[in-house]
C-alpha cells in the first residue's frame, strides 16, 4: 500500500530533522574544522593541511597509532579465540549451566569501562593488589611490578582488563551462532572420521562465518575507539601512561580537541581514525568474500 499526501513525510520529519541536526551538520562541520586551528568554537584560523602535517610529524600521534594498532591486533588474536573457546565450552553444556555461565562471563560488560578501569587499578597496585600478590604466590616474582607506571607493562595491563571486559561479550555472539549451526553436518563429518578440530575448522567455523566476520569487524572498530579504559587506568598522566605506552588514538583526540580546545586538530585526528577503520573494515569484508568464493 502506498500512502499519498503529506502524512508519511510528517512522520519522517522528526527523524530527518534530528539526523540533519546531529549527524549531517556535525559531519560537514568536522570536515571544515579539520582545516582550521581553533580555540574552541570562538576563534579559528585557516591552516590548510597543517593539522594533518602536524599529526604525521608528532611522535605522540605515532605512539597512539602504534599502541592502538597493537591493541586491535591483540584483541583479534587473543580476545576472539578466547571468546570462541568459551563459547564452544558452553555450547556443549546443558542449558541451565550455559545460562548461568553466559551471565557470569557477560556481566563484566554491564559495569562499563570506567568501573573496570578503577577496579583493575586497585587489582594492579604494586605489593598490595590481587594481581601482584597472586603472581608472587605462583611465580615468586612480580610483587613490586608497576603495572600502571612501567611502560613495558602498561599495554599488557590494558589488554588484561579489556579481556575481562569483552571476552564474555563476544562469547555471547559466538554462542548464539554456534547454536544455529546445523548439527547434522557436524554429525556427518564425525561419522566420516573427522577429528574434533577438523569438525570445528571445516564445518562449524564456516557455518558461522558471517557472525565471525561481524565480530572481528566490530572488535577492530571498538579497539580503534579504545578510550575510557586506559584513561581511567592512567588517569594521572592524562591517559598517556609512562613513555606514552597507554596512549590511544581517541585519548590523543580527546586531549587535543577538548583539553586544549583545538577542535581543528581533534577533527583531523577523527578523520584519520575514520579512514583507518574504514580501510580495515573494507579489507576484512573483501577478505571474507574471497574466502566465501
Amino acid at each position: 500500500m502506498i500512502y499519498k499526501g503529506p502524512a508519511p513525510y510528517l512522520f519522517l520529519s522528526p527523524y530527518l530533522f534530528l539526523t540533519a541536526l546531529f549527524v549531517i551538520v556535525p559531519f560537514v562541520n568536522a570536515i571544515v574544522l579539520a582545516f582550521y586551528e581553533t580555540n574552541g568554537p570562538r576563534s579559528r584560523a585557516f591552516v590548510g593541511l597543517d593539522n594533518f602535517r602536524f599529526l604525521f610529524q608528532d611522535a605522540n600521534f605515532h605512539a597512539a597509532l602504534l599502541n592502538t594498532t597493537i591493541f586491535a591486533l591483540v584483541s583479534v588474536c587473543v580476545q576472539l579465540p578466547l571468546a570462541m573457546g568459551l563459547a564452544l565450552l558452553l555450547n556443549g553444556s546443558g542449558s541451565r549451566v550455559r545460562s548461568i555461565f553466559r551471565l557470569i562471563f557477560f556481566s563484566p560488560n554491564l559495569v562499563g569501562q570506567v568501573l573496570v578501569g578503577i577496579l583493575f587499578s586497585v587489582l594492579f597496585t604494586p605489593r598490595y593488589g590481587l594481581i601482584p600478590r597472586g603472581l608472587q604466590e605462583l611465580l615468586h616474582r612480580g610483587l613490586e611490578a608497576q603495572w600502571l607506571t612501567d611502560p613495558r607493562l602498561i599495554m599488557p595491563a590494558i589488554v588484561m582488563a579489556s579481556l575481562w571486559l569483552w571476552v564474555g561479550f563476544n562469547m555471547v555472539y559466538f554462542l548464539a551462532a554456534l547454536q544455529t549451526v546445523d548439527k547434522s553436518l557436524e554429525e556427518a563429518a564425525r561419522i566420516d572420521g573427522a577429528s574434533a578440530w577438523q569438525v570445528f575448522w571445516h564445518v562449524t567455523l564456516p557455518s558461522m562465518r558471517h557472525v565471525v566476520v561481524f565480530v572481528v569487524i566490530m572488535t577492530v572498530i571498538g579497539s580503534y575507539q579504545l578510550f575510557e579504559l586506559p584513561l581511567t587506568l592512567l588517569s594521572e598522566s592524562y591517559g598517556y601512561g609512562a613513555k606514552n605506552a597507554g596512549l590511544t588514538l581517541i585519548t590523543y583526540l580527546n586531549y587535543n580537541g577538548f583539553r586544549t580546545g583545538d577542535l581543528g586538530l581533534g577533527s583531523a585526528v577523527g578523520w584519520v581514525i575514520a579512514l583507518i577503520i574504514f580501510t580495515i573494515s573494507l579489507i576484512q569484508i573483501r577478505f571474507a568474500r574471497l574466502t566465501e568464493d
Partner: protein, 457 residues
C-alpha cells in the same frame, strides 16, 4: 469502532503518536520553574572548602544584602565544564576554584578569548599583592597578568614514622642534604630476612616521574617554562636530576618505591614499607584523615637540600579562585573572592580544619598555626610549614603545560631504557638528547598556539 481503528495509518503509528503526546504533556506538566539566578554562583571542588565556604557565605550575604549560591563539583568535571562553557560562550559560574595547571586551558589564543578576569590591577589596588607569597602568583599568571587568587602555598616536607626511624637508627636531624639522605637510604633499603623482597624503602618516588620528579626539579630551581612562557626544562640541571632519579628508582642501590595513591600509601606507611612520604600541608591532613592509626607516631621534616644551605622545600599542588569574564557582577565577585580567601575571621579555623596554611603572609602569626598537632607528635606544623613558605619555588603556567609534563616524563622514561641496557655509561648524553627532543616537541605545540594567537589577533 474505536479511535485506534479509525486511525488511518495503522496501530503502530497510533501508539507512537499517543506516546509522543503523553511524553510532551508529562514534560510540560512536571517541568519545574527555574528559580531566579542568585547574584553570584561560586563553584568549588573540595569538600573541605565547600564546608568552610558554606559556613562563611551567610555572613557575606548579610553584609552585602545579596544571594550567593555555592556548588560542589568534582574537579575534573568542573574544569571540563567551565572550559567548555567559556569556549562555547554559554553561562558560567561567577567564580570557580581550580587546581594548579588549569590556567593554561583558559589562556589559549587571543587575550580577549580568555574566559577569566584579569585581577592584576585589583590585587595592587587593594594592597593584596604584597601580602601574598609572590611565588604563588606564577601559577595563575599568563602573559604577565594574574588571572586567579592563589588559595594556598603548599610547601613540601617529608613525613615519617618516629618509631620506625628510631628502629632503623636514622638520625633525622642529619638528613639535611639529598646526598646524606641517599647514603642512609642505601643502608636501610635491604632484604634483612632473606625472602628476596626488600623490607624497607627510604622514600616514596613515582616510578614514572610525574609529580615527584616535578617537585624535585622545582626544588633545584628548574622550571617547565620561564616567566616569559618559553620552554625551560631541557637544562643540564634537569639532566642531572633525571640521572639521580633513575639511580634511586631503578639503580642497583635503589632507595625508592612507588606507593601509588590512596589506600596503598596508607598501607605502606602502616606496614613501615616506606620510611619517608611526601607531605605538602594539604597531604598532612590527608594522612591524619586516612591513616588515623598512626596518630602520635608521625613527624615532619624539611626536604633535604641539594647543596648544603640550599632550599629545604618545594611545592606540590595549588588551588586558585578565578572570576569568570561572564559574571554580571565583577565587583561583587571580587569582594566575595577576597572575603572567601582573606577574611581574617576564618583563616585560623580553616587551617585547623585542613592543615593548609594561608597564602597571606600576615596570617602566619595566627595562634592556630602555633598549636601543637597531636597526630604529628605535637609538632606545631602550621609554624613549620609557614617557615618554609617564603622559600617555595615559582611554578609558571602555560597553555601547553600538560605537554611539558608529558614530555619531561617521556625523556625520563626513554633514559631509563638506556640505563637498564647500558648502565651509567653514556647516560648523561642520552638524557640530554631526550630532554632536547622533549623540549622540541613542546615547542611545536607552543608554536601552534602562538600562530593561532597571531592569526586571530
Amino acid at each position: 469502532m474505536s479511535l485506534i481503528d479509525k486511525y488511518p495509518y495503522g496501530k503502530a503509528p497510533f501508539a507512537l503518536l499517543v506516546i509522543a503526546i503523553v511524553s510532551v504533556g508529562l514534560r510540560i506538566a512536571t517541568a519545574r520553574r527555574h528559580a531566579d539566578r542568585p547574584d553570584l554562583v561560586v563553584v568549588t571542588h573540595t569538600d573541605a572548602h565547600y564546608a568552610a565556604y558554606r559556613k562563611a557565605i551567610p555572613r557575606f550575604e548579610q553584609e552585602h544584602g545579596v544571594k550567593v549560591q555555592l556548588q560542589l563539583v568534582n574537579w575534573a568535571s568542573l574544569q571540563a565544564r567551565v572550559q567548555n562553557a567559556v569556549l562555547a560562550g554559554t553561562e558560567t559560574p561567577d567564580l570557580a576554584e581550580m587546581f594548579e595547571s588549569t590556567l593554561g586551558t583558559f589562556t589559549r589564543g587571543p587575550a580577549e578569548d580568555f574566559g577569566v578576569m584579569d585581577l592584576t590591577d585589583r590585587l595592587h589596588r587593594d594592597g593584596l599583592y604584597d601580602r601574598i607569597v609572590e611565588s604563588r602568583f606564577s601559577l595563575w599568571s599568563a602573559r604577565g597578568r594574574i588571572y586567579a587568587l592563589p588559595h594556598d602555598v603548599h610547601p613540601l616536607m617529608l613525613a615519617y614514622r618516629t618509631d620506625l626511624v628510631a628502629k632503623l637508627g636514622i638520625d633525622v636531624s642529619q638528613l639535611d642534604t639529598w646526598d646524606k639522605f641517599v647514603e642512609v637510604g642505601q643502608r636501610i633499603t635491604r632484604d634483612a630476612d632473606g625472602d628476596k623482597v626488600l623490607d624497607h624503602y627510604m622514600i616514596d618516588l613515582r616510578f614514572d616521574g610525574a609529580w615527584s620528579l616535578d617537585a624535585l626539579m622545582w626544588q633545584r630551581g628548574g622550571q617547565f617554562f620561564d616567566a616569559q612562557g618559553n620552554v625551560a626544562f631541557a637544562t643540564e640541571d634537569t639532566a642531572e636530576l633525571i640521572r639521580w632519579y633513575i639511580l634511586q628508582v631503578h639503580g642497583p642501590h635503589k632507595i625508592a618505591f612507588d606507593c601509588g595513591w590512596g589506600q596503598s600509601v596508607g598501607k605502606a606507611m602502616t606496614d613501615g614499607l616506606v620510611v619517608f612520604q611526601w607531605a605538602p600541608d594539604w597531604r598532612s591532613w590527608v594522612f591524619e584523615d586516612e591513616v588515623p592509626s598512626l596518630k602520635g607516631k608521625m613527624a615532619l621534616m624539611p626536604l633535604p637540600a641539594w647543596k648544603p644551605g640550599g632550599r629545604r622545600t618545594s611545592v606540590w599542588g595549588g588551588t586558585g579562585l578565578m572570576i569568570m569574564k561572564g559574571t554580571k557582577n565583577p565587583e561583587l565577585a571580587w569582594e566575595l573572592a577576597k572575603f572567601l580567601y582573606f577574611d581574617g575571621r576564618d583563616q585560623g579555623q580553616r587551617f585547623l580544619a585542613t592543615n593548609i596554611i594561608p597564602v597571606l603572609k600576615d596570617a602566619w602569626n595566627l595562634p592556630e598555626l602555633e598549636r601543637p598537632n597531636p597526630y604529628w607528635s605535637n609538632l606545631p606544623i602550621g609554624r613549620m610549614y609557614a617557615a618554609l613558605a617564603p622559600e617555595t619555588p615559582a611554578v609558571y603556567s602555560s597553555p601547553v603545560e600538560a605537554q611539558a609534563r608529558i614530555n619531561l616524563d617521556l625523556a625520563y622514561a626513554r633514559s631509563i631504557d638506556h640505563f637498564l641496557k647500558h648502565g651509567e655509561a653514556g647516560l648523561m648524553e642520552v638524557i640530554r638528547a631526550n630532554l632536547a627532543e622533549g623540549a622540541a616537541a613542546v615547542r611545536r605545540y607552543a608554536d601552534r598556539e602562538h600562530k593561532l594567537r597571531v592569526a586571530t589577533r
